[in-house]
């Protein structure tokens, strides 16, 4: 057993740290540090910088513009992003649709989409949830029907109808990937396909959803008789559910956000010092969260080490999702408790905003189902 980073890994960490310190624009860092909402330009700018350095897509194959990093380097990189107060790039293109296109797409699709995802020229969003299909995603009702009027010689077309909801960054996106029903079959997981839709296509409308913190991150996207070439389907017709499951495994540990939590705890300590809050009970609550965070950080290293040893990321990542989001919420709650209502520092919006973390990326209740079924093998 050796739980320390190797000299090479430490050198890599220093290199990343140095790069972020010297290349991240100060105004972007300030906004991240303050917890202010970021604009599209902030993401685009940081994307460009990482792209130039060759670090924008650590998870991709090297031949397509990825890096040759192992799980430990990828982890170090993510940690340094948080420590350096750099934005986390939006995952929808780089980490979600791209791996799907790489794994399930054809050569034309890889050539058409990947370079522009890599360069940041095209932004993506995710069209999964529907008003009637949240945790029970397979009950989605959006439909993609072959257009019978397509004459021979013309490209085959789907006509898509439906409503997708809770879509982060749809207002900025050039493309959306949707799960839509191409067949009504007995089993609801069958007959779903994975389709790429240009947001400029007639019939696509975006309606912002204001959240309880006053934010405007998420949207509803209506698809009304949206005509899309069949060539925009990734994978076989009816293969969408498999792809969705593949993607869920790709979401994994990022949601634990250990380094981000450490940063927020630091901010909390600064807040307590600045406000001269010396309440013993509050200090003890902060200490308990710190200890849980330490336990979770080591748990993440254990999963990482298993991954380095060749094990596939397993259902254990559900622990990281559940506990990581609980800790994020606990820190925002402590900040609110420390300052009370109507405080100058906007701790309340953050508290409200962070309620989302235990809901998104598979609600924590769904994660507990996964632990019960796949780890504990309960009936």
């Amino acid at each position: 057993m050796d739980l320390a980073f190797s000299p090479e890994e430490r050198a890599f960490r220093d290199e990343v740290r140095e790069f972020i310190a010297t290349h991240l624009p100060p105004d972007v860092r300030r906004r991240v540090q303050a917890g202010d909402p970021l604009g599209k330009d902030d993401y685009a700018c940081w994307h460009r910088i990482l792209h130039e350095r060759g670090w924008v897509a650590p998870g991709w194959p090297v031949a397509l513009g990825g890096t040759d990093w192992g799980p430990v380097e990828k982890h170090i990189f993510q940690e340094e992003i948080s420590y350096g107060w750099a934005p986390r790039l939006l995952p929808f293109g780089l980490q979600m649709v791209a791996p799907v296109i790489i794994e399930f797409g054809n050569d034309e699709q890889r050539a058409r989409y990947l370079p522009k995802i890599h360069s940041g020229e095209e932004f993506w969003c995710q069209g999964y949830s529907e008003p009637g299909a949240g945790s029970d995603l397979a009950s989605l009702q959006s439909s993609a029907v072959h257009d019978p009027s397509t004459s021979s010689g013309q490209a085959e077309t789907y006509v898509i109808n439906g409503t997708k909801t809770w879509i982060t960054a749809a207002q900025w996106a050039d493309w959306i990937f949707v799960l839509a029903r191409t067949e009504r079959s007995a089993k609801k997981q069958d007959g779903i396909s994975f389709i790429l839709v240009d947001m400029k296509t007639p019939g696509v409308t975006v309606r912002p959803i204001e959240t309880i913190d006053g934010g405007r991150e998420i949207n509803e996207v209506h698809l009304e008789n949206v005509r899309v070439p069949v060539a925009n389907r990734v994978g076989g017709e009816g293969e969408g559910w498999n792809i969705a499951k593949f993607l869920l495994e790709h979401e994994r540990t990022g949601t634990a956000g250990i380094a981000g939590c450490r940063q927020q705890l630091e901010s909390l300590h600064e807040l307590l010092a600045h406000e001269k809050i010396d309440d013993r009970r509050l200090q003890e609550r902060v200490a308990q969260v710190e200890i849980e965070l330490e336990a979770l950080a080591f748990t993440e290293l254990r999963t990482l080490a298993a991954e380095s040893a060749g094990k596939r990321p397993g259902p254990e990542s559900s622990i990281l999702k559940i506990k990581g989001t609980e800790i994020q919420q606990a820190i925002s709650e402590l900040a609110l408790d420390a300052l009370g209502p109507y405080a100058e520092a906007h701790v309340a919006p953050k508290y409200f905003n962070y309620r989302k973390t235990s809901i998104y990326a598979g609600s924590n209740e769904i994660q507990k189902n996964i632990i019960a079924k796949r780890i504990l093998k309960l009936p």
């Binding site: 050796d2 980073f5 330490e294 290293l301 254990r302 040893a309 507990k368 632990i371 019960a372 009936p379």
Partner: protein
């Protein structure tokens, strides 16, 4: 980073697991422990010792899994660490051989686990000292031929090796909930030669803190083993137990509870390993205290949650004395509080945290 065990470590783990899985109730297994080399863990090479905190963890985790309640923590980890650090190979060598049994009497009435709160006095009389005072919650005093006693020499704390059958030493055993041997020791003017001082005059507190940190880490490992068995038993039971025509393990309310128990267990596992790593690598005593207390807080909280819910999910049978899970729960309840409960270790963690030391980051980050 590498979390795999060496062949030697696997060997220890397997041999302890075999013992723990067998019939070990009642009787004194000390000769077996000595024969298998378990008393030598953490001792220096020239005394035939091997391994360190990680090997102790592997052993204690298996003891927990098999509910082996033994004087190991008190007499090997706590006393052994102190004798090692105080450079007393004469005594430590006999502990390693199983020839001498030594425990530590440090806690006092109203001290609330704190080894610094000492009222027992050691008054110099020629070349001797005369010890007067009361020690409580002494672990495994019955089998110990020697007690390491903390006492005030002036305003400093000094450790003395006292034969447990010396005149004016009275040992009073408690009725314990988990079969564990514990009791009070009254020192009514006990004469001890100055040569019996361990670690020099005034060196007592630092030695105690070090020994207690090692012993606390060992308890964390035992707690991990106890929790593992309780969760496994609960999952198995709810798969078998039928109500309303189905296994009760199919109910989501119970599934989520068990998922939460699993998460608590994994957090405790991480902290038990982190504690062992801290002991192996951390030279700064403040950072060490902080790491060990953090581990105890997590293991105690996890243990309470896993233990209470193991009983709850078993229902009536969990309350029954003849079923095993209740015994694990009782031992966990003791381990949760032994050498400091959550409140004590939270306070110790906060105190260490506010003491400015070099930036404390986990091993893999630093």
């Amino acid at each position: 980073m590498d979390f795999t065990l060496s062949p030697e470590q696997l060997l220890i783990k397997d041999s302890v697991a075999r013992f723990a899985a067998g019939d070990h109730a009642g009787g004194d297994h000390w000769p077996t422990f000595a024969e298998l080399g378990w008393l030598a863990i953490g001792a220096p090479d020239d005394l035939g010792g091997f391994g360190g905190p990680l090997e102790t963890l592997l052993l204690m985790e298996q003891f927990g899994r098999g509910l082996v309640v033994s004087p190991y923590v008190a007499q090997v980890v706590l006393a052994g660490t102190i004798l090692h650090a105080a450079n007393r190979p004469d005594l430590l060598g006999r502990v390693v051989e199983g020839e001498q049994r030594i425990t530590v009497a440090y806690e006092e009435p109203h001290a609330r686990y704190d080894p610094a709160r000492v009222a027992t006095t050691a008054v110099r009389d020629g070349d001797d000292y005369v010890l007067t005072g009361t020690k409580v919650r002494v672990l495994d005093p019955s089998t110990a031929g020697t007690l390491i006693v903390s006492a005030l020499t002036g305003d400093e704390i000094t450790l003395f090796a006292v034969p447990s059958d010396a005149p004016n030493v009275v040992r009073e055993r408690y009725a314990s909930e988990d079969g564990y041997d514990a009791g009070n020791v009254r020192l009514g003017g006990v004469r001890v030669a100055g040569a019996e001082i361990i670690g020099g005059v005034g060196g007592g507190l630092a030695l105690l803190e070090l020994g207690l940190d090692h012993a606390t880490a060992a308890l964390c490992a035992e707690g991990l083993g106890l929790m593992s068995t309780m969760l496994e038993a609960t999952v198995e039971y709810t798969k078998q137990r039928q109500q309303f025509g189905v296994p009760i393990g199919s109910f989501q309310a119970l599934q989520h509870r068990m998922a939460e128990m699993f998460i608590e267990l994994e957090l405790a596992r991480s902290m038990a390993y982190l504690a062992a790593t801290t002991l192996g690598e951390e030279r700064d005593p403040v950072a060490r205290r902080r790491g060990i207390s953090a581990a105890k807080v997590q293991v105690a909280k996890s243990g309470r949650f896993v233990g209470q819910n193991a009983i709850q999910l078993h229902g009536g049978i969990g309350m029954s004395e003849e079923y095993k899970v209740g015994h694990y729960f009782k031992r966990m309840t003791i381990v949760e509080r032994l050498l400091g409960d959550v409140d004590f270790h939270l306070g110790r963690y906060l105190a260490a945290r506010s003491t400015k030391t070099q930036a404390q980051t986990p091993a893999a980050v630093g």
